[in-house]
Symmetry: C2
Subunit: 465 residues, 2 copies
């Protein structure tokens, strides 16, 4: 069995387990009490805060423990927007933030605030200049992840922080994906993290608010964690989180180099072994353990299922694997293929043998899925339209889901003469992303989309080979 | 060492520890994922939900796990107020709720809502009739704890729930203190709990929302826990919480009878062993493991400190033990003495020997504290005022903290003739509660209070013995 989804949740680090068990005996009492059990709990909590602060690079009194990374993000954004409401109600996020950031932005919008979403390059990174252009006199807060959770691309945090500092705007960095590997450099103002991403236990996040940031906790008052994280402290969890952060940092230099080699190997070999694959994300400026690729003509859900049967646990940003049947907002913002999408994120200690076995299994798994999908029960509903001197084919895939529209398009493209067009009718949200992506991969011209009865017509013009 | 503060946090139950350790290996993955590690995590989570729901007496899909009891209360109140905002913005709470409820009410007030605080009897219980009178056509939500966390008094939940049901108002029951002992009976609509109060781990609470209650989650969207508790689930903690709830329930009948005997013994013996003590809370309708008493002429902080030195960990609602230097809102609402206040809450398994040792240690500890305080360095600043035919003494204790004002009053009361008055000048918030309480205990007439320069004058008339 190979678990390749560390970016969702990492298995508990042995040090975390050890620290958790050791602190169950001393960490259960209320650290606000003055009797001995309370004092012992307080000592554990203080020591954990110091260790975490040292790993993050902040003062202990700037760091509070929350109950999750999501909660840290929600709280950090809400508190800063409230603390700086006199400056204005403008919030900046990148288009590829974690859903906790985007949902916070959505809440801010419904409460009357304004939000700018900074687009990303095809690598998944924001351009610092584009980000800087979004800064306004009424900007209360800017948010940028340290690295993307779906494609691994590192963001230019230091440069964006510099621009924010020049504009007097605090920058919140969601560092959930990168804290295992090192501190976030640059002059950020707030930082959030999630312990179970670095091998700590679930139920622990952290929120750092630099001294000097105007911050106003929202919601009912609570004295714990400087008034920034209500509820009784989960001290054994917090101790385990801090201990495992130190432990993974001690291994980070060696392990990141080792995992980078393995992910480089996958990035290089997959396009050689599997036809019609797009490896996405920045090839260099990326997390060491994470890579993502998409396979044309493949149903992501089936692929995940088949890989699971072969003993590989991976995740996907394909529309068919989401509850909303829309492709990942990250892939969408990057403008890359979303069908047959696979994210591989290696936990610490992954062996080269595991990776080689994956490279062995993947090609035949993709081939099998393609074979199953490549011969749909009925022939596609194709209509030939004489459009002046040019032939135009209409392929009706209404009611069919990803990857069928792209498969049908690929089947008929050579049926039109060079310069002729294929109109793919589809009501599948993924087609909007995947048909242009297919055109880019296959060197065909994407003309554009038009509304049509019951869906959208995506128009592709055949190019000379 | 005897830990007598289970109402703050109970030591981890052995079953909780076992369940926690067992589920660390299977409960770390994301239960929303479809691969094997995710499916295993989901199975654990589902089983825990079913076990907890069975213990509470609700449907599994009515119960979500939160990150603390406090968070469950905040969320439950906010979500119901939002879901029922068309009915009105009136919220009812009792005066002796946990701070998480009262702080939620305060937040509601600052957002423009109205709040009624139902007073309590001297036992700490609300009267169902008084509670029912607070219900209005615009009442969105009513809150009542199952039992009080400071004095142990059980609330008439079933009767209040009946009145709420008749008025069409949902009742939220904060059951944090009572869930170890059994289900909350009656037709409540929402219920909250906290695992570390029943021997489960910190970091787990629960919120039950009965089908049919209009409920609108607030804050940024999140798919986990039916959209009612954002953030990655702490499955090992949740499994341990559910397992320990079942375990303590299995022992509840025997253990509650046993602990009730021990707490009955303390309630009976303390007034015999220690002069000038008031045992507070309902003597019969109360939690089995919890009792509270207050000692005249004693400084609560010093008493706690001395008991800690003797190996007893207890808590106190005295003003000197709170960060705000005000007495517990519960004791205040009950109108009982707050000085020298001690709450004893026995964890499961407390032995009779521990209790006997406490009864041995307490009298001399109280006596020592009283001796230290009873002879203040200087004589009190007493002024004799000829008030017509009656003598009135003025005792200036401005700047002195609890229990000094009461000590000085007690010293001089026999210096005035029967019918004469003592005016105690004080700027200590506890005096407002403790001087009337002293009068009641000592059969003196409390005349009332008047504002005076730099504080308040509390007027006491000496009665015939």
């Amino acid at each position: 069995m190979s678990y390749f989804d560390a970016a969702s949740s990492a298995p508990l680090h042995p040090v975390a387990r050890q620290a958790l068990q050791a602190s169950l005996d001393e960490g259960w009492a209320d650290p606000a009490r003055l009797y001995r059990e309370g004092r012992r709990a307080r000592l554990l909590l203080d020591a954990a805060r110091e260790a975490a602060a040292e790993a993050i690079g902040c003062r202990p009194d700037e760091l509070v423990f929350t109950t999750s990374g999501t909660r840290a993000v929600h709280t950090g954004i809400e508190g800063t927007l409230a603390g700086r409401h006199r400056v204005g109600r403008h919030l900046i996020v990148s288009a590829v933030e974690h859903s906790s950031v985007l949902h916070s932005a959505e809440t801010h919008r419904t409460r009357g605030g304004t939000v700018s979403e900074v687009p990303v390059l095809r690598t998944g990174a924001v351009s610092p200049d584009t980000y800087a252009e979004a800064l306004r006199p009424d900007t209360a807060l800017a948010c940028l992840q340290s690295a993307n959770h779906e494609v691994g691309t590192e963001q230019p945090v230091a440069a964006v922080a510099e621009a924010c500092r020049a504009a007097g705007v605090p920058l919140l960095v969601d560092a959930a994906q990168s804290l295992a590997w090192g501190r976030v450099e640059g002059g950020w103002s707030l930082l959030t993290g999630s312990a179970h991403k670095w091998g700590g236990p679930a139920g622990v996040g952290l929120l750092v608010v630099r001294k000097g940031v105007r911050y106003a906790p929202q919601g009912p008052a609570d004295e714990r964690e400087s008034g920034r994280a209500p509820g009784f402290e989960n001290i054994p969890g917090i101790v385990a989180a801090a201990a495992s952060l130190r432990a993974v940092r001690a291994e980070a230099a060696v392990e990141s180099a080792r995992l980078r080699e393995l992910t480089d190997r996958i990035r290089a070999r997959v396009p050689e072994l599997v036809p019609d694959v797009e490896v996405v994300g920045d090839p260099v400026h990326r997390l060491p353990h994470l890579l993502t690729f998409s396979c044309l003509y493949v149903d992501g859900e089936t692929l995940l299922h088949e890989l699971d049967r072969e003993g590989f646990s991976v995740s996907s940003g394909s529309s068919c694997t989401s509850s909303t049947l829309t492709p990942s907002h990250v892939l969408k913002a990057m403008g890359v293929l979303s069908e047959g999408n696979v994210r591989v994120s290696l936990p610490l200690g992954t062996t080269a043998e595991d990776v080689d076995r994956f490279l062995d299994v993947l090609p035949r798994t993709v081939a099998a899925v393609r074979e199953k999908l490549g011969a749909p029960a009925g022939a596609p509903a194709v209509t030939v339209v004489q459009d002046g001197s040019l032939v135009s084919l209409v392929v009706d895939t209404l009611g069919k889901r990803c990857p069928i529209p792209v498969i049908e398009l690929a089947k008929v493209i050579t049926d039109v003469p060079i310069g002729g067009t294929v109109r793919v009718l589809s009501d599948d949200e993924a087609a909007r992303l995947d048909i242009p992506a297919w055109c880019e991969m296959r060197n065909q011209e994407y003309v554009g989309e038009e509304p049509t009865e019951g869906g959208t017509a995506y128009v592709v013009r055949r190019r000379a080979p």
